[in-house]
């Protein structure tokens, strides 16, 4: 924990820049939320996902044929989609190892185990004061995408090498790959929206690594108290 007074340094201060490779440290008004390795990991997975998405969507339906032109046509998609998908899967395993310890469901997160939880969350209620570094929704999102990535890779592997699998395996793989893909895409649409437009300051946490004290108190009060030692709730 930093000894520097909250307002002695600003975002561009060398002390803040130096702290960006650490995590959960407060430097002046800034708190480092995602250290460099977390950010590199996140954007590696995101890049592999985007590549897999734009090479997969035109194979799914011709409405998205135009995406195929971004990589040189549908023939390239058939070759590239499985490889970028495999890279994405490896990235997700990296993510699993990197973040699993942070994603244990706490008592306060249990209320997220309701199907209407996300609707309530989008109505911007007061944040529960016991909300830690990640809230229940973020933790569930983590488990959903990791499990979904396993399903995507398992069914995708069959579609990659159809000659090695019997009809009884190939046939269900087509709809299962579609269902897993749709679940993933809808989740990611929500993830991108909440991480950018809906909660200002969140995108910066994944780019520069830091958030402001106010952002931390608003979204993750318990994490804020743990990191800063500020006992106000």
């Amino acid at each position: 924990m930093s000894e520097i007074a909250p307002h002695a340094v600003s975002a561009g201060d060398p002390a803040v820049i130096a702290a960006r490779t650490q995590e959960d440290v407060a430097v002046g008004n800034e708190i480092v939320r995602h250290r460099l390795s977390s950010r590199v990991m996140h954007w590696t997975v995101a890049l592999a996902f985007m590549l897999t998405l734009i090479t997969g969507m035109p194979i799914w339906t011709p409405i998205f044929s135009w995406m195929a032109f971004l990589v040189g046509g549908l023939h390239v998609c058939r070759w590239l989609h499985p490889w970028s998908g495999a890279a994405f899967f490896v990235g997700m395993l990296w993510m699993l190892i990197h973040w699993l310890a942070s994603m244990k469901l706490a008592e306060v997160d249990k209320k997220w185990l309701s199907p209407t939880a996300i609707i309530k969350y989008l109505n911007y209620p007061e944040t529960d004061q016991q909300t830690g570094k990640y809230n229940g929704g973020q933790k569930l999102f983590f488990y959903v995408v990791v499990i979904d990535a396993v399903l995507l890779f398992a069914t995708g592997f069959v579609l990659w090498w159809p000659s090695f699998f019997p009809q009884a395996v190939r046939e269900p793989s087509i709809p299962l790959h579609d269902i897993a893909f749709l679940l993933f895409v809808v989740s990611i649409i929500g993830h991108v929206y909440l991480g950018t437009a809906a909660f200002p300051g969140t995108f910066g946490s994944m780019m520069r690594g830091t958030v402001t004290r106010a952002w931390a108190r608003l979204h993750h009060p318990k994490w804020y108290r743990d990191v800063t030692g500020d006992k106000r709730s």
Partner: protein, 299 residues
Amino acid sequence: MAASMQIRRSSASLRGEDSLIRKLPVVSKYIDTTTCIGCKACEVACQEWNDLKVVKTEQTGTYQTMPTLHAEYWNLIKFSEHDLGDSLAWLMRKDQCMHCADPGCLKACPAPGAIVQYANGIVDVNPDKCIGCGMCQTGCPFDVPRFHEKTAKMSKCSLCVDRVEVGLEPACVKSCPTGCLHFGTKEAMLELADTRLLQLRANGFTNAAVYDPKGVGGTTVVTVLAHGDHPEWYGLPKDPHIPLGVRFAKSILKPLGLIAIFGAVAGMFGHYLRSGPKEPHEPPPGGADQSGTTKETRP
């Protein structure tokens, strides 16, 4: 692939079915399994006309050239034997693409125009558009399309569409010495089949039937079976349909998925219009509200 033919349906096409200006009669290949002697002349003719490479034959102890169709072997006389109690049935059936009226391969194919159905009912692979994903093999109820290792494209019988479009019969039909193969309009071929069925029934094959399964809208290849009540003896599915997984993915998941994706985007956009961003509304800690030197939210 003969590009000069009118196309009725095309894979991965958003266009509705049947946009033909001129209706053409559906053609058909008639296969009479009861007069096939298994001479393999049709297999050779197919290889020769379609310029297919030599595929290594595989002896499995029957009168069959190899166990199954191959990317360079589109026409295979399948042999099977059945103990009927007092006699033995030796069954020869010409295995090839059935050219379904409702082709599962075409439905499963994700590449626009890679599988087409011509106005005359012939279903063909367009190698130029084919991406070699193999979905058509999964979509086919008869397990016909094959992946070609060298070209990385799918291949199958084209019903010699290049011959048919200039008024010739398919190479296999041309070569058949017993007359068990015929080619003409589907109407004419079904008539021929009916005549043959009468003969077969008079000869004691009371279950003789024409194999033209309705589950795939009928097939352009019509097959006369002496044991019509047991198509599985010939290696034919009893009631073929486009596989459920393919139909579910293409007819239900695809529209539902599009609604889900665009719905999610619209929902998030609508949420922003209604609720806007969630930002800190409390006075910042440390008295920055007096000094005014610290911004609590990022630009």
